[in-house]
Symmetry: none
Subunit: 244 residues, 2 copies
């Protein structure tokens, strides 16, 4: 996977646990560039605990005195904002943000503000775009590490969407059954139901068989699964035949 051109910038973070949580979220999603603007406490044992193994992200995090320093080499700056501000600024949601980054991979900083008050207007004015995570307007303040998790997740999704082919490994263990195989299964099922007297007992034979088809068609069995089901039918036939 190519090195992501995205830097996560946490501005004036109060709780070091959130820095650790952010580092973990970043590493989960293949991001590695973290900058901390005047964090209240860093380095910190709380950060390491919450990072849960993403220590390399914390070790390499750059601690800056000012936002300017943290974004000096970035060509694009996006600021996360919980509020829909009166000042109208171009807005992105996380998916649009990720698509933008994937489409034009210039060095991009995404800023996340203070736990209680977010980014200041001054800081937001440095941004080319505001990033808003859609959420319940009645309870709209996301935890900062959780917000970074959502954004990192969308960035990773956008990377995947651009990469060659989704790897659904279909081994020889799970080849879907063919129509022909399904038909012999249904024939086998029907004859077994006759042998146990189930179909004799009712006038609604066709309806029952149709409903059974519906169930098994929906399950879309693999060949090995069909083999298993037919093994059971054979066991029933043997038991019934042997006893009869």
């Amino acid at each position: 996977m190519p090195l992501s051109p995205v830097r996560i910038v946490m501005v004036h973070t109060t709780h070091p646990g959130n820095i650790g949580g952010a580092a973990r979220a970043m590493k989960n999603m293949g991001l590695s560039d973290l900058a901390l603007v005047a964090p209240k406490e860093f380095p910190s044992g709380d950060a390491i605990a919450r990072a849960a193994g993403a220590n390399d992200i914390l070790d390499r995090a750059r601690v800056c005195d000012t936002l300017e320093e943290a974004i000096a080499d970035c060509e694009q700056v996006i600021g996360a904002s919980a509020r829909l501000r009166s000042i109208s600024w171009p807005q992105l949601d996380p998916r649009e943000c990720a698509e933008r980054v994937a489409r034009s991979p210039v060095k991009t900083a995404i800023l996340f503000g203070r736990e209680h008050s977010g980014l200041t207007n001054d800081e937001l004015e440095r941004c080319h775009f505001l990033l808003h995570i859609p959420c319940d307007p009645e309870f709209s303040s996301l935890n900062v590490a959780a917000a970074i998790q959502v954004v990192a997740y969308e960035l990773y999704q956008a990377t995947l969407a651009g990469s060659p082919a989704k790897e659904t490994v279909i081994g020889d263990t799970d080849v879907p059954a063919t129509g022909e195989q399904m038909e012999s299964f249904y024939a086998h099922l029907e004859s077994t139901l006759r042998e146990i007297g189930y179909l004799h007992a009712t006038k609604h034979e066709m309806s029952i068989l149709r409903r059974l088809r519906r169930i098994y068609n929906r399950a879309q069995p693999e060949q090995k699964e069909l083999h298993l089901l037919r093994g059971i039918l054979t066991a029933v036939q043997r038991k019934v035949g042997g006893a009869g």
Copy 2:
């Protein structure tokens, strides 16, 4: 906004802070139904602190002794799993999961396992689908509250995308089977397989039962269909018992 049919189920959570973080994430995204299966510590000050105002979610959280209790009234069960298991189970990513829930709003439980080991195989076998959050395979363990945040975010996005164009009209004739009903079906199936000598004949009992669960979970039978399948099992038992 309509009441979401989604219950978040946290199974054997160790750190109460994660329960609080999950409650906050849920409330941000308009979810309210939280069940806790045998949490290590709850209620807890750490949970309240991390909930950051989502106290109502914590207050109404249902604490259960067993997973069965937590999902008894759910028609669809989805289990979050970090690992891509060798046994292939139908998988969804968070977006597919959200689309599925939005499209067919049956009562759905989404299960999140232990911090260090996730859900057990037994627990996963209760699930109709596995939910996997795409992430860096080199560092694939998300914090549980962060995982809930991502899934809740996608659920909210799917709600925003518009209320479902319901493609399947669910009349009273086709009510999906509940988790409890599926469990009694599996118990009935197992005892029938024993009576016909099918399970005795093999050492791979557990693997066979698991594979059968997989087939029938995928089919997501309606209650009437389950009734039909159980009728067949009863007919087999009668025939075998009567002849023996």
